[in-house]
């Protein structure tokens, strides 16, 4: 391994003088630039070589970054030894003449003829055709990610018709599982993640809509051109539909640093934002163009002909794209996606439910508050929610009922921490309506409090804007009351008097009014006031959204909570004073069966409201007005340069000009970019997707790095074949299903996977395709195949993901912890597992399933001891093995049945005997466990 490290870099780069010149000098002293008239591709006169050596030794050349000492020494020695120029040096980077940037060449022939001619030229021959049993297992996993059922294998093996294979291909392509299988490949590329990443890792509850859109698109064979355009600009295209808007989720699956985006330091916010946009540019360009445009943020691309300016022109299209707060409105007035009738019907459905809820809530409030109005001045509006803690933590006005957690106690009408606890915190369900202007009012039994506490808090739970939080806070050190907000800009330093209450009731109220002012009152009197910096959006009055925000109630030693109220208006000073004067009016709510009945009804109507509500939101690109994009010197947010016009890349054979001004509307910029990317004259667009599909069918792409068609990605093994497939793909109307068909019907795909020493000696990596490359199944396919064999698989397609994890609170944050349970919902295909960044599944992870936030165009395939331990001992795998055994035991020949289900074949004689012996002594489950651990189960030939 040591040798690997030391050897490979020098193999890669070469340590001799000529290769250092090649690598370090030619960008300026090559045929293109010829700085100082010097072209070093051919050997110059000796005098110039001596001068070169001298300037390099002094560190004058290269001008920006002198060479490291070992390289300086290598140059010196090489010049001393006569400076041998091995022919013509070539610049180690791509120019505009790089193969992938050229228009598609018209080539004839077919897959097999191109593969064969390469094989013949290298003295190789293709392998024999694979047998039918191998073929159906290979094809089933390839197209659907699932093994064939034993009866499907039998029928296919028995079918002598020459058209049998073609029929099988068509059947599998028509299967709904086809879309599920290929969606997983696509989700890897677009770094689909169902959580935000970074420290909060908030869930993206609506992300599944995009996943379903991908599955549907593949199953419906949506033309790839539309598939691509919708993901870049589906919300602003002519003829936008609900589906095409959902597709824009593609842009925003990258990780979101919610805390950084709301930092108090402007340069920090800008940095986080710029990194976010770089990630977005990266995913668009790598996914659809196979170019690492993101590398040109700080300087011209080091290897490909992408000037820094092109990066900024490209980025201009995304200048206004932000991550959504979870549940971005799909139907703002600017985006009329529903017909007027549809929208009317939807609103009517919601309105009917809302009317029922409102009536029930009104009745409930009357019942619960019977009498309390007497003790409240008429001038006081009705709170939106009120907790008195007389008998429980229920909301006596609305439906924000909290439950008492372990360790919380009620006593004397107050919430307090139980024995041995310092503090307790209760959390209500989500708000059922939006709150902006508001008043937080708390009646606190204060007894020489010492520790900091947030007594009453309102908080959004999701989205980067979810940073919003407002709270009545007591600070431990200064012993003062203050307003506390996560976005900090609204936090007021306590200017009021130190709290000295020793065993007395204190009223604290904070009002948040429409003019952004925040006022704190203590016992009816103004305590401190604060107007935040209104130039800063995050500092202004925040919106707490329905279905997302919640309230937190907290009591601690020395600060027991007697009553808390939330108003949806900012009370006036007079109203606060009146409320104080009226004193604490705790009334035990009348308990009645009618109250329970009403509450049950409200809960069920709220659930009923969900589908109609969900139809209006999705996790999609959130668009803000776009400023012109400015070039950043060295990519640094503090070094802004000129404004650039929106445009595309200048290295491709189609015009990069959009004819737009720097301040063009963002919708125009994105629409034009989408058209440019998916233009038939853009040779990369078709080449890249054709290569991805090839990669998954054959185990390696014709271009080995599916996300990099630039210099570093290398050249294709079969360039003419790649262009042929790309051209046919375009002619076929961008149909992926036809492309699959073409590939899997080829003889090259259908050949056997048997190894052969002579061929391997010439082409160990099988780049020339002398056999079918055997492969280990992906983690998802392994898990799905276990579920198939156990018979537990739940094939329900689409909808919200199942969540095999639980939240574990850690201070003010929570982590997601992976968990396991024997639950039919969790027996759905692995595609439907909620894929969050912080709750990875050890077995899937060990089988190389990627971290969701990482763009993964090709997965590695590793074999490790941890992977083996997972397959051996993982609770899920063992449970499936037992269920598998229970099912196979029903058969008249359980050993045979188990082999058929797991491996798709009958046991051979020696295996049969060996297995019988195992089963006799230790039961069928031992055999089924063994089959799940067998290489044959995990590999496709």
């Amino acid at each position: 391994m040591r040798a690997l490290l030391v050897l490979f870099p020098s193999l890669l780069y070469g340590a001799d003088g000529a290769s250092i010149v090649e690598r370090r000098c030619l960008s300026c002293h090559g045929p293109a630039v010829k700085a100082a008239g010097l072209d070093l591709t051919r050997r110059p006169a000796d005098g110039r070589i001596a001068r070169l050596a001298e300037r390099v030794a002094k560190g004058e050349m290269p001008p920006a970054a002198p060479l490291p000492d070992p390289e300086k020494r290598a140059i010196e020695e090489w010049v001393k030894a006569g400076a041998e120029w091995p022919g013509v040096l070539r610049e180690q980077r791509a120019g505009k003449d790089w193969w992938s940037l050229q228009p598609l060449r018209a080539t004839g022939g077919g897959i097999d003829s191109w593969v064969r001619s390469k094989l013949t030229a290298n003295g190789l021959r293709p392998s024999m055709p694979a047998d039918r049993r191998t073929l159906i297992r290979r094809l089933s996993f390839d197209l659907t990610g699932l093994p064939p059922a034993p009866e499907e294998i039998r029928a296919f093996v028995a079918d002598d018709s020459p058209a049998a294979y073609e029929r099988l291909v068509d059947r599998l392509l028509a299967s709904p599982h086809y879309g599920e299988r290929w969606a997983r490949h696509w989700l890897d590329v677009v770094r689909f993640a169902e959580s935000e990443g970074f420290e909060r890792d908030l869930l993206r509850d609506q992300a599944w809509q995009y996943r379903d859109w991908v599955v549907r698109s593949f199953n419906a064979d949506k033309p790839y051109r539309d598939f691509a355009r919708e993901q870049i600009a589906g919300d602003v295209m002519a003829g936008a539909t609900r589906d095409s808007v959902v597709a824009t989720g593609f842009l925003v699956w990258g990780p979101v640093d919610a805390v950084g985006l709301t930092s108090a330091v402007e340069s920090q916010r800008d940095l986080v934002r710029e990194d976010y946009l770089e990630e977005m540019v990266g995913v668009v360009a790598q996914t659809f163009l196979g170019l690492t445009v993101n590398c040109a943020r700080c300087h011209d691309h080091k290897f490909d002909p992408i000037p820094q300016k092109d990066y900024y022109r490209f980025k201009s299209a995304f200048q206004a794209v932000w991550p959504p707060s979870d549940g971005e409105e799909l139907f703002p007035s600017s985006r009329p996606l529903l017909t007027a009738e549809e929208d009317k019907a939807r609103m009517a459905r919601l309105a009917a439910i809302d009317a029922r809820i409102a009536a029930a809530e009104a009745e409930l409030a009357t019942l619960q508050r019977a009498g309390w109005r007497d003790s409240f001045p008429a001038s006081l509006p009705r709170p939106a929610a009120r907790w008195t803690f007389d008998t429980d933590a229920r909301d006596e006005i609305g439906s924000l009922h909290a439950k008492l957690p372990a360790g919380a106690e009620l006593g004397g009408g107050r919430l307090k921490p139980g024995e041995g606890k310092d503090a307790v915190t209760l959390r209500t369900p989500k708000l059922t309506r939006q709150i902006r202007e508001k008043t937080l009012e708390a009646w606190v039994w204060a007894d020489k409090p010492e520790k900091a506490a947030q007594v009453l808090t309102i908080k959004n739970s999701s989205g980067y804007r979810g940073a919003a939080l407002d709270a009545i806070q007591f600070t431990g050190k200064s012993k003062r009351w203050e307003n506390q907000s996560t976005a900090r800009f609204r936090s007021a330093d306590g200017k009021g008097a130190e709290e000295t209450a020793a065993g007395e009731m204190v009223q604290i109220a904070i009002t948040y009014s429409g003019d952004d002012a925040i006022r704190i009152y203590r016992n009816g009197k103004l305590y401190s006031e604060w107007t935040p910096d209104i130039d800063n959006a995050a500092a202004r009055l925040q919106t707490y959204t329905s279905g997302d925000a919640f309230v937190r109630l907290s009591a601690s030693k020395g600060l027991e909570l007697d009553e808390a109220r939330l108003y949806d208006v900012a009370l006036t000073a007079e109203q606060i004073a009146a409320s104080f004067a009226a004193g604490v009016a705790s009334r035990a709510p009348a308990a009645s069966p009618r109250i329970a009945e009403l509450e049950r009804q409200i809960a069920s109507w709220q659930a009923e409201r969900k589908p109609a509500e969900a139809a209006t939101t999705a996790h999609i690109a959130s668009i803000e007005p776009a400023a012109p994009t400015r070039l950043l010197r060295r990519g640094d947010v503090t070094q802004k340069g000129e404004a650039v016009t929106p445009g595309a890349l200048s290295c491709l054979p189609l015009s990069p000009e959009f004819g737009l001004a720097p301040d063009a509307p963002e919708s125009e910029r994105r629409r034009k970019l989408a058209e440019w990317v998916a233009h038939p004259a853009n040779p990369l667009f078709a080449r890249v997707i054709v290569n991805r599909v090839w990669h998954h069918h054959f185990g390696a792409g014709l271009v080995e790095n599916p996300n990099d068609f630039g210099y570093n990605g290398g050249e294709p093994s079969h360039p003419e074949l790649l262009d042929l497939l790309a051209a046919e793909f375009i002619r076929d109307g961008w149909s992926l299903k036809r492309l699959h068909r073409r590939l899997v019907l080829s003889e090259t795909y259908r050949q056997a996977s048997a190894w052969n020493r002579e061929a391997a000696a010439k082409d160990a990596g099988n780049r020339l395709l002398w056999r079918y490359t055997p492969r280990r199944l992906e983690g998802e396919a392994v898990r799905d195949a276990m579920l198939r064999a156990s018979g537990k698989i739940n094939t329900r397609a689409g909808g919200p993901s199942f969540r095999p994890f639980e939240a574990k609170a850690q201070g003010s944050y929570q982590n997601w912890l992976q968990k396991d349970a024997d639950d039919p919902e969790w027996h759905r295909r692995t595609l439907y597992r909620m894929n969050v960044n912080s709750a990875l599944n050890p077995m899937l992870e060990s089988l190389d399933c990627p971290v969701p936030a990482v763009k993964t165009p090709k997965r590695p395939s590793t074999t490790t001891a941890l992977q083996t331990l997972s397959l051996m001992n993982d609770a899920f795998a063992n449970r499936q093995a037992r269920a598998f055994a229970a099912g196979a035991a029903q058969s008249s020949d359980p050993v045979r049945e188990a082999f058929l289900l797991a491996l798709g074949r009958e046991p051979r004689d020696e295996e049969r005997e060996d297995s019988r012996a195992l089963v006799e002594r230790h039961g069928l489950a031992a055999l089924c466990w063994g089959l799940f651990n067998s290489s044959e189960f995990l590999y496709v030939e």
Binding site: D708, N712, D914, G930
Partner: protein, 440 residues
């Protein structure tokens, strides 16, 4: 060509790795990571000027935007040991080790925000998705003990650092190089134990059957090295099942050792366990151990009450950390082990908010301590300005720290690369230089 490592052959290659290069001074790394941001001006960076100007106003931008006045450290500093390095009373045990420490007092991080800053200290990047240093080192050097994971992570019972497993992720490197978290209770490694419902005899017979099955399959498919590797991996898994539980059993340590690490006291017990386990792991050939002190539930993040927070955190951290250094030294392991006392950022020289006694996040200049292989002991490199706000001399980036650590391991940070999505990626991105000034 290194990419071949991502394929079938990685496991086999990783097992034979030994740092053999003449330049290697360290064979292994232990990182003690104080999560939340340990204050430099209250621990290792003595600022007399801050004492003099205590309470004076001072203009600087801060993360929470509530810069208060300059705030002198409530702890006293004294020159320690032969070297005279000033260490504050907050860390009396580490102060005792001053002559073994190498301080870097001018480190700069990029982010003022916990998660990205922790990510940068681990991966060099403030975005997620990049391999952690432990993964790079494992990828480069492989392991010395195939029965144990090469990169082990010990988290604090108060929770993982914000962001969790992304901090010890393999990123785009092969999955086998990712950090393996040892759990504080139960089996240290997931899926280590045979499920309770399976008897030993059943598992043994099953493994024997499986071995025959997999051997036949590998023999019928020559040329596919992964199939042979799979057969071997069951032997390795079995060895791991034998070795791991024993290594995590600290009861076998003598009483005086347990006491030295503070296993007998409530405050020091949990980090004491991590430090002692770290020593046991490196002793048995684990290449890279990372022990976190503090996590998302409780950390060094002293916004409101510096004295309360840092006193309590230091109480749990100081004794075990010092015990580890002394124990490694006594066993001769410190000669070829690099110990890194890191944190994601320091804390502001000003208080957070008027009249307050807390400090805000401060990535612009902070201190990291190192000890062990190939370093000048009892030495401080770099310095902050008069109040500890910005580097005063010899500014050091996180990339420089990484480059230096790799250098000590015998690795040229510019050559440890992995091709991913168009770029030959490095731990140090396109930056980093070896800090020659602190090498012995």
């Amino acid at each position: 060509m290194l990419d071949a490592g991502a394929g079938f052959g990685w496991l086999a290659a990783s097992c034979v790795g030994l740092p053999g290069a003449a330049t290697a001074r360290a064979r292994r790394v232990i990182q003690l990571f104080t999560v939340g941001g340990m204050s430099h001006v209250d621990t290792f960076d003595f600022k007399p000027e801050l004492v003099r100007m205590d309470g004076k106003s001072f203009d600087m931008p801060t993360f929470f935007g509530q810069a208060g006045n300059l705030y002198a450290s409530p702890w006293k500093f004294e020159p320690r040991g032969q070297s005279g390095l000033p260490v504050s009373d907050l860390l009396p045990n580490l102060a005792r080790c001053a002559d073994r420490l190498t301080l870097v007092k001018s480190v700069m991080a990029k982010s003022a925000n916990h998660m990205p800053a922790i990510a940068q200290m681990n991966t060099g990047f403030i975005l997620t998705g990049f391999p952690s240093m432990g993964a790079w080192v494992t990828y480069g050097l492989g392991t010395e003990n195939r029965n144990l994971p090469s990169f082990v992570v010990l988290t604090d019972p108060n929770g993982a650092p914000w962001g969790g497993s992304v901090h010890w992720s393999n990123g785009f490197l092969p999955a086998g190089v990712q950090g393996t978290p040892f759990r504080p209770a139960g089996d240290p490694v997931p899926d280590l134990a045979t499920p309770a419902a399976v008897t030993a005899a059943e598992r043994e017979a099953g493994l024997a059957w499986l071995n025959r099955m997999n051997r036949r399959y590998a023999a019928a498919h020559p040329g596919d090295s992964a199939l042979e590797a799979r057969v071997r991996s069951y032997e390795m898994a079995a060895s791991m099942q034998l070795e791991v539980p024993g290594i995590a059993d600290l009861a076998t340590e003598p009483e005086h050792t347990r006491k030295a690490y503070g296993l007998d006291q409530k405050e020091t017990e949990s980090f004491g366990r991590s430090c002692l386990l770290a020593r046991r792991l490196v002793e048995r050939g684990v290449r890279f151990v990372q022990a976190y002190h503090g996590g998302s539930g409780r950390s060094w993040d002293a916004h409101g009450d510096l004295e309360g927070n840092h006193s309590s955190m230091a109480k749990g951290y100081d004794q075990p950390a010092a015990a580890l250094i002394e124990d490694l030294a006594a066993r001769g392991l410190l000669d070829d082990t690099l110990v890194m006392g890191i944190t994601e950022f320091g804390r502001t020289p000003v208080a957070q908010g008027a009249g307050k006694k807390g400090r805000d996040h401060h990535p612009d200049c902070f201190t990291v301590w190192l000890a062990g292989a190939g370093l000048k002991p009892g030495f401080a490199y770099g310095a902050s300005d008069e109040v500890g706000r910005l580097p005063g001399e010899n500014a050091v980036t996180v990339h420089d720290l990484h480059a230096t650590a790799l250098h000590l391991l015998g690795i040229d940070h510019e050559k440890l690369t992995y091709y991913h999505n168009g770029i030959r990626r490095r731990l140090t991105d396109v930056h980093g230089r070896v800090i020659q000034g602190l090498l012995a």
